[in-house]
Subunit: 138 residues, 2 copies
Amino acid sequence: MADSIVDSLKAGGKKLTKPRQAILAILESNALPVTAAEVHARLKKAHAHMDLATVYRNLTMLQELGLVDPVGLREGQMRYEVRHGREHHHHIQCRGCGRIVDLMLCPIKKLTELVEAQTKFAVEGHSLEFFGWCPQCR
Amino acid sequence: MADSIVDSLKAGGKKLTKPRQAILAILESNALPVTAAEVHARLKKAHAHMDLATVYRNLTMLQELGLVDPVGLREGQMRYEVRHGREHHHHIQCRGCGRIVDLMLCPIKKLTELVEAQTKFAVEGHSLEFFGWCPQCR
DNA sequence: GCGGTGTTGCAAGTGATTTGCATTTAACAC
DNA sequence: GTGTTAAATGCAAATCACTTGCAACACCGC
């Protein structure tokens, strides 16, 4: 596991329990954002079964520490992905099969100033997702 | 109610029932995206009480017809707004008070080609939301 | 090894959204 | 108008994602 993650946990007064390590291992092994249920299922497959509530509690906590990013794709459930070692990016999801693909681009940085000028808000984050049809489904 | 809405309903084989008209009236009177529960509450205030399930069924159907757009702000519930007579736009929400403000801008049109080239997907839609702190809360 | 605090498992609880079904109602033809 | 029929509604129950209370447990620093 990445040192930066261990350090952040320690700095946040969090312990490095066995279930937590297993969750982080799953998250780090996944390139794409996963749901709590998916993490839970993959943990079970990896013989690291734990309660679903533990998965949820950890995902929430990791998000608060800024170690994972939430990804909302209007699926009725949240997805999460580790931040460590990954560039800021977005996603596109196929409306046919649900497949998710990373988009290594972000047009937002340039826009923040404009949004702040228009709204007087202090912009702190954004979400951007694309929807469409993948080559197999269209 | 706008003719274009009536026409779309008819074209979709949908009836113009009294509950449905009341829902559309509420939606058209709201500048900002609303939740099903909010629609339900405002209907009650307007002496047009109906079952919450009816509100959900109508919002889903109106979305399928393309008459309303879903807006997901990671609140654990969906919001909806009528499309008729409104320009394509996005939103910013305050992390303090939850206030939502329209953003009459969209950097995505120019990006669609790039996304399609990178992914081979046919892009059909996108969601873009900003989060931050409003003048009162920051 | 001990103590204290953060964690976990389990079971129960929430809150949003959906569904089955019997009853009603708009829409359209006669 | 009246009848016909497909769509829509109300009501109750169900589902699904997620959260919470609490007692037992496991890290971590000393």
